[in-house]
Symmetry: C2
Subunit: 338 residues, 2 copies
């Protein structure tokens, strides 16, 4: 691939090391090659095919990871009972697909087909020297959400780049949206994030604590952030940053326990603001919001809830690591420009 045009120039003077401002990722152009991989759970073949068609519809040249159709159980065994397939291949194979895609100079974006479970297992299998060596001044895009939060944290911290959090190609809302899902909006958001270089506006619905905040965007899926605490893969402190949080199928007491752990870990100390996405199937929505409010409002920074990002029927795409503005007066989060 070409090493890029004017619209892909590095956006700051960062050297990519942790603590400095992350380098914004490239923007795609029609015809660009993207690699679709499955770093977590096994992918339904029909969904995979439908998602690739959607990506081709965006003008992209889609390459598939070697192991994207693999499926094994948590014991990394292929000969298992029905219903025990939880991973899209062994940890080593999924790590190889990710590394191969990231290190292939013809690939401009690595798109995760789906989440599920397994990304935290992958972290011990990645060759960060090789991944860093393949991360040039115009970093390629890593795109995914949910379980992929573990990769966002690792790529952001270790490679000093922004990454793209949003609906995945083989997820229902992209590949086969249900009537209650806004598939068109999700696809438009994905297109804007991958191809566009402008600001993305993400509206919120509920002001938990009023105010205006600016800082790089961090965070992701709450249960994945807490699953990294106490490990070498723990997220760097959120001080000075706007923290995005969302989750799915976590009861209010689990949300409270995870927020308690984040708070006790000190991770949220000095955060500039909190942007809350969807908490889909997390019990009574009012109780979930009450829990989020009780734990986060005392931080004393702006908190905006109800952003259409995460696992809900509306899924916009966010650029983690990129500068963002949270404004509860305007009821929105602005970000997306790397």
């Amino acid at each position: 691939m070409s090493s890029g045009g004017a619209h892909e120039t590095e956006r700051d003077g960062s050297d990519g090391r942790t603590g400095s401002r992350p380098r914004g990722h490239v923007r795609l152009r029609p015809g660009d090659r993207v690699a679709v991989i499955a770093p977590s759970g096994p992918v339904d073949p029909d969904r995979l095919a439908a998602g690739c068609e959607v990506l081709r519809g965006l003008g992209l040249d889609v390459a598939l990871g070697k192991h994207v159709r693999d499926r094994v159980n948590l014991n990394e065994d292929r000969a298992v009972r029905d219903g025990w397939y939880r991973l899209a291949g062994t940890d080593a194979d999924r790590a190889a697909d990710l590394t191969d895609a990231w290190c292939d100079p013809s690939v401009r974006a690595v798109l995760c087909a789906r989440g599920g479970y397994g990304a935290t297992r992958l972290l011990d299998h990645l060759d960060w020297t090789a991944l860093a060596a393949a991360t040039g001044p115009e970093p390629k895009i890593l795109h995914g959400s949910s379980d992929i939060t573990a990769l966002h944290v690792a790529f952001g911290a270790r490679l000093g780049i922004t990454t793209s959090f949003g609906p995945m190609s083989a997820s229902q809302i992209v590949a086969a949206p249900a009537p209650h899902e806004d598939g068109a909006e999700a696809l438009a958001g994905l297109r804007a994030a991958l191809f566009g270089s402008g600001t993305i506006e993400v509206p919120g619905t509920s002001v938990v604590r009023a105010g205006h905040a600016e800082g790089p965007l961090t965070g992701g899926t709450l249960s994945l952030l807490t699953a990294l605490l106490g490990t070498p893969h723990a997220p760097p402190p959120a001080a000075g940053k706007i923290v995005f949080l969302e989750d799915v199928t976590e009861e209010p007491y689990r949300l409270d326990r995870m927020l308690t752990q984040l708070l006790q870990s000190g991770w949220l100390e000095g955060a500039a603001g909190i942007a809350l996405g969807s908490f889909h199937d997390c019990g009574d929505p009012d109780e979930a919001l009450a829990v989020l409010t009780a734990r986060l409002a005392p931080l004393g920074v702006p908190v905006l809830a109800g952003l259409p990002a995460g696992h809900g029927p509306r899924q916009l795409t966010l650029e983690l690591g990129a500068p963002a503005v949270l404004d509860t007066g305007a009821r929105h989060l602005l970000g997306g420009t790397g």
Copy 2:
């Protein structure tokens, strides 16, 4: 209360500081006063009453914590919707009940009525100077399980004492055992742990990795151990210890994620052996055991599964911090002597 008889003598020369051998707790005698408190979820009044009757049947003088019947939501608000009561009082009130009981010289054991959720929140509200000052050469008993794991870890690490992990007075198996539950065995185990000074044998059903190991017993409910990682309340390393693990309503992928986090945190490095209790309602039991096997057998130490301790229909009582022997040939864990 008396400062104790011959059977309560300190069992080693420990000064109670972290790293030294924990001091074994006292053994109760008929007529001893015990305090029943609720550090986590709200207690059903009928269950509370039935559980207290059971304790009186053991010859104990039962005192109730001031807030044991309180109930508030996770926002610490009393005026909430039905079904939102998750805590037996505010964090400050639950912490006060625990501190008052521990510091009352007439109380010889602090028995948690039930688990549920809320113990990790309590940890920031406890006055460890006061609790340590009230911990004499013959430490009283702290008894509970499940969510109370957070208190076991804290009391063991900060006060240098053994604690008692087993069925709680207002839990179903003690207060109103269902037909499928072995209430008689649970009560006998509780009695032996509270009053006895001999060795308790806990049989296992499945040898995951053969061998013989000795060391102090540590661990508890897996999800609580992981909820402490990365915080000031994280459990001290399990090196040289026998690790007991159990859980309830955690799907196999969640078990795997938690074990991955424990492993990545380094907590399990150098563990002497692993004793697995019940993993009740954790999906397909065979899959749960396969997950436990895949993650723990590579540690290279003895692993015995199927111990009747935790949330299942059989619930023996274990003494955390006390010397233990794990022998897969004999298929048992021996412990309980402080």
